[in-house]
């Protein structure tokens, strides 16, 4: 069969072109498990070369026959494996959590614009809720750009926490905030962030989390270059269907975002 050795995409998992007639690329689940009461992690290996994702890009992750969900890249390694961190919210993420290693998902992406930042300086990354998902990938990138950086991570309850440090690299310090006061700072991530902002001068602030948190972050960082990473209902990921529009602006999250400068989306955040 000559070339057929190269086609052993199933058993041998060799990479091959022409694995699909459409933009969904098959990927095998490598691991899939809980990180904490709230968060799960899934690592997948695409069967074919995928464009190298950059922070804060995301993939539409298709569970065949069930649903297709947007998930931000949490990590990407040299063998092309992609990691996502997710929270079970409804049927789609529940089904995702049930996938066994070796089963197939489909990946569409990377979608969205990469976060583009100038080189070097000091940075603060503020995250809350499921916003933590892209943070490891963001911090890795900022560190590689020469940033000295600090992270604020806020959760409601202490048992949502997991060892975020072990997934990150190159950050200066991880500040924890819990609303149940079971660990770290007692209160909201945005409050902790504000107090840090009042004491240190940052060149760059990146916020990922609930709308309210991002709104207050934007207001606390007037004058500092601040990016907020948003969520919206993504259906097509191509700028065609309009479902991800950030009303009342005319920005489409899937093609213009998911990261925006505060001034681009402040009307949306204030809504």
């Amino acid at each position: 069969m000559g070339k057929s050795e190269e086609l052993r995409i199933w058993s041998g998992e060799r990479l091959k072109r022409d694995v699909s007639t459409h933009s969904i690329i098959p990927a095998r689940v490598v691991l899939n498990r809980a990180l904490s009461r709230r968060f799960h992690i899934i690592k997948v290996r695409p069967l074919t070369l995928i464009k190298r994702p950059k922070p804060v890009q995301f993939f539409m992750v298709w569970s065949p026959g069930v649903d297709e969900l947007p998930l931000s890249v949490a990590g990407y390694n040299a063998s092309g494996e992609i990691t996502f961190i997710y929270e079970i919210k409804g049927p789609g993420t529940r089904r995702l959590s049930e996938l066994k290693p070796d089963s197939f998902v489909g990946l569409k992406g990377p979608l969205g614009r990469p976060l583009e930042v100038a080189d070097g300086g000091t940075a603060l990354v503020v995250t809350g809720g499921s916003g933590v998902a892209p943070v490891p990938f963001i911090t890795k990138h900022l560190a590689s750009k020469g940033y000295q950086l600090e992270v604020v991570w806020g959760v409601k309850r202490g048992d949502e926490l997991f060892n975020l440090c072990s997934l990150m690299s190159g950050f200066e310090y991880l500040n924890i905030a819990t609303e149940d006061c079971s660990a770290g700072y007692c209160g909201l991530a945005s409050e902790l962030a504000k107090s840090l902002l009042s004491k240190t001068r940052y060149d760059l602030v990146v916020g990922v989390g609930p709308k309210k948190m991002l709104e207050s972050l934007c207001k606390a960082t007037l004058g500092v270059k601040t990016y907020v990473v948003l969520e919206a209902i993504v259906k097509c990921g191509l700028g065609l269907c309009g479902s991800c529009v950030l009303q009342p602006t005319d920005r489409l999250l899937c093609v213009d975002g998911p990261a925006f400068k505060c001034e681009e989306v402040i009307e949306y955040l204030e809504q």
Binding site: H22, S23, I24, W62, F104, L238, Q247
Partner: protein
């Protein structure tokens, strides 16, 4: 020499509505909300076409709803997701505020629904109504109507006879497209939009399942283009009506072919998923302008239907 005088005249008119150039979006690409209209206006289009509105809001299908294909086309089954006729007035108003002609795409599963959506749209100030007689993936909507010339006649007649706003009938590929086109014109359509997507499907060979949540969808983009050219050519040869050509327009050449086949305006759909839709529109217009001048014509509309010359 001013920049202006070095450009060809790309203006046109559809059913009496003047357009500063020939490009508008295809229905279903944005156009369901006022913010979408703003965005389309920023792309530099000469007119905005809304998403097809139905009487009641429709959630549409869950993802996956759109696939980019290796054959460089797109496959979609959005399921006519739209906020319902109640949202039409604010969408039309945004068009007016931006000074752009706006064509409301009208859908329905019964003649009465078409008439109702059309009336609301007309009252809201729409410049044109596009009857979607051809959406190929919603049961009870679309192709069932468009492939049957007598249905086309009935729906078009019902709307045209109550509407003060010019009616444009949008048809898809079917065995009877020439007849359907004739019937639409006979019933009072002032122009035709040709063509809608073609039913198609994609199966995932790993999970052995159809990929779209709706199982099948409508094929758009470049695979459609030479088929659209043929349909426009045939209908123009038969009736020389006003035609808005749509299907696989991605650059000035694809637009020019539709013009030569008989289209006096052009819609761009899938290609608006390009990285820079604004630049895309500019470059199509720039290419068309050079083309018209290169052929030593003054107006793009002078080239409409010229492929029919012996």
């Amino acid at each position: 020499m001013s920049t202006l005088s070095s450009e060809a005249d790309l203006s046109t008119a559809v059913a009496g509505v003047k357009l500063k150039h020939v490009l508008m979006n295809a229905s279903g690409v944005l156009g369901a909300l006022p913010e979408h209209v703003t965005r389309l206006a920023n792309y530099g289009l000469a007119a905005v076409v809304t998403k097809t509105f139905t009487k009641r809001p429709r959630e549409g299908y869950g993802p996956p709803i759109i696939l980019r294909l290796e054959n460089i086309g797109f496959l979609n089954a959005v399921g006519l997701a739209n906020p319902g006729v109640g949202a039409v007035p604010q969408v039309v108003r945004r068009g007016k505020e931006l000074g752009l002609p706006i064509m409301v795409s009208v859908g329905g599963s019964t003649v009465e629904e078409y008439v109702e959506v059309a009336s609301v749209s007309a009252d809201a100030g729409a410049d044109l109504l596009e009857l979607n007689l051809s959406c190929p993936h919603t049961m009870g909507y679309g192709l069932d109507v468009g492939s049957d010339p007598s249905n086309v006649f009935e729906v078009t007649k019902a709307v045209a006879s109550v509407s003060k706003v010019p009616v444009v009938a949008k048809l898809g590929l079917s065995d009877n497209y020439i007849k359907s086109a004739g019937k639409a014109l006979e019933a009072g359509a002032k122009a035709l939009t040709l063509i809608n997507t073609i039913r198609a499907m994609v199966i995932d060979v790993y999970s052995l399942r159809p990929v779209l949540s709706n199982v099948f969808g409508g094929l758009s983009g470049p695979p459609l283009h030479p088929i659209a050219v043929k349909v426009v050519y045939d209908v123009y040869r038969e009736f020389s009506p006003e035609i808005i050509g749509v299907g696989g327009v991605t650059n000035w050449v694809t637009a020019a072919e539709l013009v030569l086949a008989g289209a006096k305006a052009i819609q761009v759909g899938s290609a608006l998923s390009s990285n820079d839709p604004r630049e895309l529109i500019r470059s199509i217009l720039g290419g068309l302008s050079e083309w018209v001048k290169g052929l030593e014509y003054v107006r793009l509309t002078d080239l409409v239907g010229l492929a029919h010359r012996k």
